[in-house]
């Protein structure tokens, strides 16, 4: 089976490293300008340069989003920015404004141009239009059905990138200015205030409601998407933290491996689905891939937030001699709690919290200070960047 790219989001350098480490083949991120997550930390040009080096040393790829819709005042610096991205060997830019696509070609840049999901491509003729502009990859609209994806691949022969996981827009991406209208924050230049997730009242009825879609999750369609010829599976979430990125990328990386080995069972799919939903604090559904979303694929009222206190600690070091793990605390835990460790090379491993030590070796009964460094004695060999979380699901129960 052909190797498919797993493409992860990264809002800063730490998230980028975590994404690669946990199995992403490529990462997309934004510079300080022209990206649609203007309020993420994002990357300076120097950081992008370091990020490209980091990626290429590991034979991975790095894409930079240049996907805002430009207003006149932003035009001035675009060419210089595109040239700079090319000069530091960014693999591709992700663009939605025709201006960016055309300028990248006119400037003779070596980097690839991928057309963003903001372009809402749902048919092969639209794909062919963008192909005529010189793009090498289409990031399809999240509204695309399996049949649409298949037809677009057949007719365009372009690389296709599909979102497989993460938050959804209520509207077609790029076709909403609710944020602009209600708050003056420009949705198409990275300032979206997510008005669709706020509450609305119907003038002729008493009900208050929101239009919040559940998240996207195509875990059950991965095999089919591979057989159609999708080249890249994209995870949404440049504003998300390292735990989310690690969990989601780890799950999809594992699933892709299991699919290529033909060992993925239905039970495992259910297990991974529970992990993903828990991690995102939201339910997820296949959305448009198998039909039009109904009222079941939307939150109208009082969405029940699941706990997001699952991430307990980040492993900073492990001493094989004394079996002591140095851990940066994230959320409350105490002696006797049942937790699990997971990592890029470590399948979820159950552990009962024993004595907790501070850096000076004093015994603590609880750990409740974020970022505090603590130590735990653990027999299982851990690695830096492994993570500790509350144990919620036991894989054995699903098999």
């Amino acid at each position: 089976m052909k190797k498919v790219e797993l493409l992860a989001p990264a809002g800063d350098m730490e998230k980028l490293k975590i994404a690669y480490l946990y199995g992403a083949d490529a990462v997309y991120c934004a510079g300080k300008s022209f990206g649609l997550r203007a309020n993420a930390q994002n990357f300076t040009l120097e950081e992008l340069k370091q990020a490209v080096k980091y990626a290429h040393r590991r034979h991975k790829r790095l894409y930079v989003t240049v996907n805002i819709l430009f207003h006149e005042k932003e035009l001035e610096n675009l060419d210089a920015y595109l040239k700079a991205l090319d000069k530091i060997f960014v693999d591709a830019i992700i663009a939605s404004d025709i201006l960016v696509i055309k300028r990248a070609k006119e400037l003779g840049l070596k980097l690839e141009v991928h057309v963003s999901t903001q372009a809402s491509i749902l048919n092969s003729e639209a794909g062919l239009f963008y192909k005529s502009l010189g793009v090498t990859r289409l990031v399809l609209a999240r509204e695309a059905s399996l049949e649409d994806i298949r037809k677009i691949k057949e007719k365009t022969h372009l690389e296709l990138e599909c979102f497989i996981h993460g938050a959804m827009c209520t509207s077609f991406s790029g076709r909403c200015i609710m944020s602009n209208y209600c708050t003056l924050r420009d949705a198409n230049r990275g300032g979206c205030a997510q008005i669709c997730r706020w509450t609305f009242k119907n003038k002729s009825e008493k009900e208050i409601f929101s239009m919040t879609p559940k998240d996207l999750n195509l875990i059950e369609y991965i095999k089919e998407l591979i057989s159609i010829g999708v080249n890249s599976f994209k995870v949404e979430g440049r504003m998300r933290g390292i735990y989310y990125i690690a969990t989601v990328i780890n799950v999809y990386h594992t699933i892709l491996d299991k699919i290529s080995e033909n060992t993925l069972s239905e039970g495992e799919i259910k297990y991974y689905l529970d992990i993903l939903n828990r991690c995102a604090n939201r339910d997820s559904t296949p959305q448009f891939v198998n039909g039009l979303p109904t009222e079941e694929e939307q939150y109208f009222l009082g969405r029940q937030e699941l706990s997001n206190q699952d991430f307990l600690g980040l492993v900073l070091d492990y001493n094989e001699k004394n079996k002591m793990a140095t851990i940066e605390h994230r959320n409350y835990f105490k002696k006797g709690d049942i937790v699990e460790f997971f990592g890029p090379h470590l399948e979820a491993t159950t552990y009962e919290i024993g004595d907790i030590f501070d850096e000076d070796g004093h015994v603590l009964t609880i750990s409740n200070h974020p970022k505090k460094i603590i130590k735990l004695k653990i027999d299982v060999k851990l690695e830096k960047y492994d993570m500790m979380r509350i144990k919620m699901f036991d894989k054995q129960d699903y098999l």
Partner: protein
């Protein structure tokens, strides 16, 4: 200054009775339009110089169906106003000699992008969410004549989801294709119009850009949703009508970095 030419959406049949010079009618097309309660079978459009309004984002089945329709269009059809860029490719493939007017109301926000699009189309609608100065600059620099908003409700969201149907089903309410929704924080009102192809939300205040004049304007665009024919007539005569109005984004620049705004 030459006389103004108008492009008016036929939101109801009465609009066709308007007797005004330089008026062109734009028909929302059955199965290919969203955001309108009335759509038209192409076969029923018999007036000369009619424009087809195909404002849906199309999937592969739609585009195949459209290809057949476009291949046999009657000569009274002057042009197509469209959102989906696949139509450019389709028109080229079919060697259509129709006017192509690109109407995606949010992504024609600067004159360079506008000129790139104009390499492929005859004209386009200038974005509805930019300032007056930005509109004028686009008009100054555009290499072809453009369509500008004149008096309309502006589209603020286009979703493939049937948001009203889902909402009505969830709360066990009667099915309606049109509702007024109020956002609770800002108290802004939106008109939601839905058909099986999706939901369009319009800001429920009319933008009045009638004062914008420029030699590089092909058409002044009017979407008379929620207006009576007599109101449209008054608008075309430059008279006032009693509706909620707004200057839209003409004098309000949007921003996108919170920190910058807080400075």
């Amino acid at each position: 200054m030459k006389e103004k030419s108008f492009l008016i959406v036929v939101t109801e049949k009465d609009i066709l009775k308007l007797k005004v010079k330089n008026i062109n009618f734009l028909f929302p097309i059955k199965d290919f339009s969203v955001g309108f309660l009335n759509t038209y079978d192409i076969d029923t459009i018999t007036i000369p110089n009619a424009y087809l309004y195909i404002n849906r984002i199309l999937d592969n089945k739609d585009i195949k169906k459209l290809e057949k329709i476009l291949a046999t269009l009657k000569p009274n059809i002057k042009g197509i106003c469209f959102t989906d860029l696949g139509i450019i490719n389709l028109a080229k493939k079919l060697k259509l000699s129709l006017e192509l007017i690109y109407m995606q109301s949010h992504n024609t926000t600067n004159y360079v992008s506008v000129n790139y699009y104009l390499d492929y189309v005859d004209s386009l609608l200038v974005s509805t969410d930019i300032t007056e100065n930005e509109i004028l600059s686009i008009l100054d620099h555009a290499k072809k004549k453009l369509v500008v908003p004149y008096f309309s409700l502006i589209e603020t969201m286009y979703s493939r989801r049937t948001l009203l149907k889902n909402y009505q089903k969830y709360f066990a309410l009667p099915n309606k294709q049109e509702e007024t929704l109020i956002e609770e924080n800002s108290k802004k009102e939106f008109l939601a119009i839905e058909n099986e192809y999706g939901t369009v939300l319009y800001a429920k205040k009319f933008i009045d850009y009638r004062f914008i004049e420029h030699e590089n304007i092909l058409y002044y665009f009017i979407n008379p949703m929620h207006l009576k024919q007599k109101d449209v007539k008054r608008i075309l005569e430059g008279k006032e009508i009693a509706v909620d109005k707004d200057t839209g984004f003409l004098h309000q620049e949007t921003y996108y970095r919170l920190k910058e705004e807080e400075k």
